[in-house]
């Protein structure tokens, strides 16, 4: 289980993931060696999964971002598995999430422009199996995206 020192480390590290272990230790009032040991433990227990670079898709030319909320035809028992397996193969799909609620699955789709989106939507999304209904939400702006967990 996590103790207060672990929490302190994770809070500081989330706020500045590029920090070196020495700097992190200093901010947490720990020695570098004990900070390093705790990080090792957090990694081996799987609490820390790694570091990822955050990519701005707009800067790469993908200006359109759409959230597709999909209801599946659940009369077929394999609907979820079939749908997810195929949705995973669409390169423009960034996130695949399943839900308990009004929506079954959500796909986050990016495209270069509306023309490209139209193309992806028609040729790759609409051909996915077992779709009963689709609702689209178009992303306008991201106001908060730090994804910092309240630990």
């Amino acid at each position: 289980m996590l103790d207060d020192v672990d929490r302190r480390i994770l809070r500081q590290f989330q706020a500045a993931p590029e920090m070196s272990v020495a700097d992190l230790a200093e901010r947490c009032s720990l020695t570098t060696a004990s900070c390093w040991r705790r990080l090792e433990k957090l990694e081996s227990s799987g609490a820390i999964l790694g570091h990822e670079a955050v990519v701005d898709w707009q800067a790469l030319g993908f200006g359109v971002e759409v959230s597709l909320r999909i209801t599946l035809d659940k009369t077929q028992s394999s609907a979820f598995d079939d749908f997810l397996a195929k949705a995973r193969d669409v390169p423009e799909v960034l996130e695949v999430q399943t839900f308990l609620g009004r929506v079954d699955v959500r796909l986050l789709v990016i495209a270069r422009d509306m023309g490209h989106y139209q193309d992806v939507y028609r040729s790759q999304i609409l051909s996915l199996p077992h779709i009963a209904d689709i609702e689209a939400l178009m992303h306008i702006a991201r106001l908060k995206s730090d994804e910092v967990l309240p630990i």
Binding site: L2, L10, F13, Q14, P17, E18, S45, G46, A47, I48, L49, G50, H51, E52, A53, V54, V55, D56, W57, Q58, A59, L60, G61, F62, S67, L84, R88, P91, E92, V93, L94, E95, V96, Q97, T98, F99, L100, G101, R102, V103, R106, I110, E135, A136, L137, M138, H139, I140, A141, R142, L143, K144, S145, D146, E147, V148, L149, P150, I151
Partner: protein
Amino acid sequence: MIETDEIDRKILRILVRDARKSSKAIGEDLGLSQPAVWRRIRRLKDSGVILGQRLRLDREKLGLGVMVFLGVKLAAKGRGSIESFERAVSAIPEVLSVEHVLGLYDYRLKVVARDIPDFERVLRRRIMTLPGAGQVEANVLLSEERKYGPL
């Protein structure tokens, strides 16, 4: 937007999986010199393609077992109400991301909580009391897959 070639995309493909990989190690993978990789990474950062890095944590291992997506419609849509809503919602620590969307809802929020009673507390005390918040729809996340996108 900047032009990227196949080598840039290969470097991005590596960094989104492991942002801490050294330019030397990346160079060895791709058959490039360390300075050449370093220069390309510098350019990707300077042009805003790489926004930074993020610590990937396993939220369930950290005791945050519930993730809920909320679709929120504003009750009143004046400029003042939008601004005060956005400011107040972004300040809630349990709200990991806030997106302004076009469609069925005005905002899409990603909320984490320890468990369902804890989520109910966040919903009642923090979300429902937001200035201007109208109809709210909740979908509880069951599974999530993140993909690396068209790199």
